[in-house]
Symmetry: C2
């Protein structure tokens, strides 16, 4: 099922999404994505956009429609979604919503190698993380509240609610982990120290 999509970059999904409504030229897409704040959810930079549009064109999901000129600005190529593109877009969306994907966040990588650090250090680092997580949570909450205050329905910010749920899960995990290793006599802490003694690590780093 995890089909071999011809274009995998999620920016392409956003492009197809906007082209569902009406044809646009790349720069307009770029603007729209930025002002809609989609760049909080999808990695985006100016250069990649043109690349992605090119890929979509080669894949037959969008087609150049006309090249218009307005005032004395350079010519712009307007792209429209093809029928194939419409199908691809819907299918991809459905897949993303229904099938959890295996991903590789940096924190997971670090956790899997955490034995390399001294537990006393890790306690400090995790406390820092905890504070920052709480800060991020507050920022997101503020952003959502402000936007909703301006009359936007929370449905349009549901991805931010998801982020908050993830942050809360992480805060819980970090708290638990800290409890297990903060006390120098705790089981986990002793195991950790013992392992590092074995492999001959410098206990101070």
């Amino acid at each position: 099922m995890a089909s071999k999509r011809k274009v995998r970059n999620l920016l392409a999904l956003a492009v197809m999404s906007y082209l569902t409504h009406r044809p646009m030229h790349p720069y307009e897409l770029s603007r729209t994505l930025r002002t809609n704040g989609d760049d909080r959810s999808i990695k985006f930079n100016h250069g990649s956009l043109y690349m992605v549009v090119g890929q979509l064109e080669r894949a037959g999901f969008v087609a150049a429609q006309e090249t218009s000129r307005e005032g004395q600005r350079p010519e712009r190529t307007v792209y429209a979604l093809t029928d194939d593109g419409r199908r691809e877009h819907a299918e991809w969306m459905r897949e993303l919503v229904s099938e959890p994907q295996h991903e590789y966040p940096g924190f997971v990588a670090a956790l899997s190698l955490i034995g390399a650090l001294a537990p006393a250090d890790v306690v400090e680092l995790l406390q820092t993380r905890l504070a920052r997580l709480q800060g991020q949570r507050a920022e997101i909450r503020a952003l959502v509240d402000e936007t909703v205050g301006n009359g936007v329905h929370p449905l349009f910010l549901v991805e931010e609610e998801y982020r908050i749920a993830q942050i809360d899960g992480e805060i819980g995990f970090v708290g638990d982990f800290l409890e297990r290793i903060a006390d120098p006599n705790a089981d986990w802490r002793r195991t950790w120290d013992a392992m590092r003694a074995q492999t001959g690590e410098d206990p101070s780093q």
Copy 2:
């Protein structure tokens, strides 16, 4: 702070981590990563490993130490961590543990564009997701329990506990979201339908 690391690929972090203990040649690294199950936490494929080792060498974090030959097998270059490499490794680990990074999971992208799908459909898709999340959770739990049953201390699987915490957060979120849109007369559901009527979407897809 969020320094401009010369090598950003997380696979490089794992490589440096293993080279902390002793010098190895790339193929041995490859084997070790696989058998230790690090490929669950760090994206890994055979080809990238050689690339990453090359990058690390150019950056001065590892150095070719000797080329050994065993039996009639091809020659292998053994790499050792340099002092710079040791510093970089420790610093990077500390950064990853203490600073939450902004990342771009596929589900967030889909959520931010979710308005393109019909709410009735989304209900179904989310139910499917929920079931799969529960399946994944059970798999991870089983893996952890089995490994711990074999005498491995749970400290060495802490990244899997983190995954479970994230999945639990996601399950909670999806459940809430479903409640908000499952009932055709719920506030969210009506907003959603109204928006789609405005932009003239086909209600059946």
